[in-house]
Point group: C2
Chain length 145, copies 2
């Protein structure tokens, strides 16, 4: 259930983000904060629908994007919309623009000496580190006065 304090918190977040706090948005935000994993839009839709049976999948998509764009939530492992293949065999990492999703190679030395972590849970075998530096590329930085 939605408490008054939660609603006020969401209201403040929306004001800060410059978006209007609607009922649907509150429920979607609420649902996301109650999950503690990495749901897909479809996952979120299912949950929201159980609370708000008339909600549309499109609304869930629209608002997830809105939340991500305004910084209320993030996405896991930068989603490019399609599989992208690495053709640079040199060890390196990436610079990824959070707006246009441009991918630039980043020399490994600029992020060197990073050891594989030691205390891995549940029998996971680490093989490789994938480091993305997220931010804004020069072009996307322009178009925001």
């Amino acid at each position: 259930m939605t408490s008054t304090v939660q609603f006020e918190h969401f209201d403040a977040l929306c004001k800060e983000a410059g978006i209007t706090p609607t009922h649907q948005r509150l429920v979607i935000w609420q649902t996301l904060t109650e999950m503690h994993d990495h749901p897909s839009p479809e996952d979120v839709y299912r949950r929201v629908k159980s609370e708000l049976p008339t909600v549309s999948l499109a609304t869930v998509y629209k608002n997830i994007h809105l939340f991500v764009d305004t910084g209320l939530f993030r996405e896991v492992s930068m989603f490019h919309g399609t599989l992208r293949i690495e053709t640079n065999s040199e060890p390196h990492h990436h610079l990824v623009c959070r707006k246009c999703k441009a991918i630039l190679d980043l020399d490994a030395d600029d992020l060197s000496g990073f050891p594989l972590p030691q205390h891995l849970p549940e029998g996971f075998v680490a093989e490789q580190l994938s480091i993305d530096v997220l931010g804004l590329c020069a072009t996307c930085r322009q178009g925001k006065p």
Copy 2:
């Protein structure tokens, strides 16, 4: 053009990976090694088709997956097939299984004290680091005798 030495190299790679070296695979592999960015399957298809007009998009997909599965190439920013939303607001990183794509949270302290890189090209403004530790989860490690 494909030189003999390249063909032999590819042949050796296939033997090592346990896959049969076909003509289509050679051309796809060749095309990938000649690109130096992060193409989508569609991008690769377009190029391959110009060399091998009868090739099918399905074949390109099948072989890209084969190459990735056998380690000849990697994918950029682990592709989960759909957008995934981060609902854990604590700063942390991820353990990602390269086979089943399971995502596990990894405490930030296990990968702590990593500074944002300094020498960024082309006016890129870094905001945040996204670190994925890639490997095999316990379950996927079993199913491989």
